[in-house]
């Protein structure tokens, strides 16, 4: 059975479970899903917002998927995203450059910030075989507390203690023609960065020697080593690129979708990236599509909540259930195989 079909079945099962849950808590699921769709797609503005919501998810999903291809589980996309976003925000607030140059520097800084944050777990894994799940979780908290104190210390907002100063408009990814095209939506250049990243990552994974080596390490570390691939360098390289992609998610989130950086929260997009990657079977196009789907659920839920009183957390619940079904997709495959062999047996008997 094709992996893409498994993902679709997991989505269908997740949506059904969501419907049951709505029914169970005394709501009308058909009405709920209808308003959910309307909330995400009713007019150009909402479609734009849906794409903007999906943007950081595309990038964190790519980040997790990229590391996964090398056999690494980057659970630290949240911290990398936060730190990358912080680097970009810091540049945007302190440098005074012409807009195209400033935006370029910000994007590069975001990538480097995220890459730096993933470099440490990558190095620890390559050199000391420290499991990346634990080290990236630790790095998440280090990022959380660093931002918690550095932002109020150096980039304090005028009124709020819990976020940085607002970025000046020329240091943000907003573009007037985009806002006009989508009738006031906050869709911004971040979306194009994400699309570009999907294409570049697809190219690296499928068409380059680097991508081949990284995948080889992911399939079997020992045989890759035997074949002469520098495994340790591949691990560090994979984490660097993965972290950089998460850093770009931070750029898209904090300098595009929002105009300042908040303290005291790890961005949820970091953890959702795991779900996006898993549902998108770690392929760039799959990541793109599943991020759009999650973006739809997240941007439609507010409208659904306003119209029906279904708690907005239904979206998170559906996503979580989908991931569980994706993780246990072998069950679906076994059922499918059983049905297939039974059908074959029946056919034989008829003959």
């Amino acid at each position: 059975m094709k992996n893409g079909i498994k993902s679709l079945i997991a989505v269908a099962l997740g949506l059904m479970a969501g419907a049951l849950l709505m029914l169970f808590t005394g709501h009308n699921p058909i009405e709920g899903y209808m308003y959910l769709l309307q909330g995400a797609l009713k007019n150009p503005e909402r479609i734009g917002n849906m794409l903007a919501t999906a943007t950081p998810l595309i990038l964190t999903g790519l980040s997790v998927a990229f590391a996964f291809r090398t056999g690494l589980f980057n659970i630290g996309a949240a911290g990398q995203m936060l730190f990358g976003g912080f680097c970009a925000t810091a540049i945007g607030l302190s440098l005074d450059l012409p807009r195209p140059l400033l935006l370029t520097v910000m994007v590069v800084a975001g990538f480097i910030g995220g890459a730096l944050w993933a470099f440490i777990p990558g190095l620890l894994k390559a050199r000391y075989n420290v499991h990346e799940v634990v080290s990236t979780i630790m790095m998440n908290w280090v990022a959380y507390w660093t931002i918690y104190y550095v932002v109020p210390g150096y980039f304090k907002g005028a009124s709020l203690e819990t976020e940085s100063r607002q970025l000046p408009p020329e240091a943000m990814l907003h573009q007037q023609w985009l806002t006009d095209l989508f009738q006031g939506s906050y869709l911004n250049l971040g979306f194009f960065i994400a699309v570009l990243a999907v294409i570049i990552v697809a190219f690296i994974i499928n068409k380059t020697t680097l991508g081949y080596e990284l995948k080889a390490v992911g399939f079997n570390r020992h045989s890759a080593e035997y074949a002469g691939i520098a495994v340790k360098r591949s691990i560090v390289m994979s984490m660097l690129i993965s972290g950089g992609l998460a850093g770009l998610a931070g750029v898209a989130q904090y300098t595009g979708n929002a105009s300042s950086i908040q303290i005291g929260v790890l961005p949820t997009q970091g953890f959702d990236g795991i779900a996006v990657a898993l549902l998108g079977i770690n392929a760039p196009l799959g990541v793109f599509l599943s991020a759009l789907f999650f973006g739809l659920l997240y941007s439609g839920r507010g409208f659904m909540n306003a119209m029906t009183e279904i708690p907005p957390e239904i979206a998170d619940t559906i996503i979580a259930i989908i991931i569980y079904f994706a993780a246990t997709s072998i069950l679906i495959e076994r059922l499918y195989q059983k049905m297939k062999s039974r059908r074959a047996a029946n056919k034989k008997r008829e003959e």
Binding site: I75, I120, T146
Partner: protein
């Protein structure tokens, strides 16, 4: 300085205990061969069920005739049972279906975090559930009169602290002094040899994961009924810290105790540093990131001589030898 230590000691212990019980549960799971990264989610489930049961009971039995402690203990038991049942999702995926255990655990975290808030919102609107009274602190009779030690260990203690320490001792005996413990550990080291010796590997792994679930549920409920007092849909990432304690403690009960005490004290010191003059000289950010950086360094130091169960994280396939 002494007064400072005396002041923060009870807080540090209160913070350590839920971490300790959760990490201890994870020890059972990993010793049986299943990685459980879903601790955080299982703690959230425990916190949710604990809040639900205790708040309902306190409403149903408001008269002082029913001792308050009994209601709280029922809440703890309910939380442990609920999380043990919830952990079956992880056990089924990782034992029967040979799913990737880290992905399955991540799914557990996501489901728990989202589903409990969804249900709580349906009940209370805000998504938070308040508990009127939690466990009260008390001084242990006689022992609290001992100089120095009494002041530190036996004054202002929670009942749950003693329950958890009891479970710790019981777990050490169970794991290292009984046939059951030997069997459980063999499943995490060499499941095929264990099977050849007539041990049912899959059943043992189910037991390991469910103990982990029950203990995590206790951990979540203890946070609720001692220092937090309210279900808010998360446990501040303590489940992940418990997982780090397990590794920091090198998969050994006493090691885990020391690791969780370290986290308890480091976190408490960071939390109170601003009000205590002798600590205020350090920049707070350094105190806050200190435990995490130390964990990273410890992981590097231990990397050469890791005591991780050899078969942890690997699905067991009886036919593959």
């Amino acid at each position: 300085m002494w007064a400072t230590i005396e002041q923060i000691f009870p807080y540090a212990i209160a913070f350590t205990i839920p971490l300790l019980i959760t990490a201890l549960g994870a020890l059972f799971s990993e010793r049986s061969g299943v990685v459980n990264i879903g601790l955080d989610g299982l703690m959230i489930v425990g916190s949710f069920i604990g809040a639900l049961v205790v708040s309902q009971l306190q409403e149903a039995f408001p008269d002082p005739g029913v001792p308050k402690v009994v209601l709280l203990l029922i809440g703890l038991a309910a939380a442990a049972i609920a999380s043990a049942l919830f952990s079956l999702l992880h056990a089924f995926a990782s034992i029967n279906l040979s799913a990737n255990q880290i992905i399955s655990g991540t799914a557990i975290n996501m489901i728990a975090g989202a589903l409990t808030i969804f249900l709580a919102r349906n009940m209370t609107g805000s998504g938070n559930i308040r508990v009127k009274n939690g466990f009260a602190t008390f001084d242990v009779p006689i022992l609290s009169k001992i100089p120095v030690i009494g002041e530190l260990f036996f004054t202002r203690t929670y009942l749950t602290t003693w329950i958890v320490l009891g479970i710790l001792i019981f777990s050490i005996i169970l794991l290292y002094k009984t046939p059951f413990g030997l069997r459980l550990r063999s499943c995490g080291e060499h499941p095929h040899a264990a099977e050849a010796a007539g041990i049912r590997v899959q059943s043992m792994r189910y037991v390991g994961v469910m103990i982990s679930g029950a203990f995590s549920g206790l951990g979540g409920a203890i946070i609720l009924l001692t220092y937090s007092g309210e279900f808010t849909g998360n446990v501040a990432g303590l489940g992940f810290l418990a997982l780090a304690s397990l590794i920091f403690g090198q998969w050994k009960p006493i090691g885990i105790l020391l690791a969780t005490l370290f986290f308890g004290f480091a976190t408490t010191v960071a939390n109170v540093s601003q009000v205590i003059p002798s600590l205020a000289v350090f920049p707070p950010v350094l105190l806050k990131i200190f435990p995490y950086v130390v964990t990273l360094i410890a992981l590097v130091i231990f990397s050469k001589s890791s005591n991780a169960p050899k078969a942890v994280g690997e699905p067991f396939d009886s036919g593959k030898r």
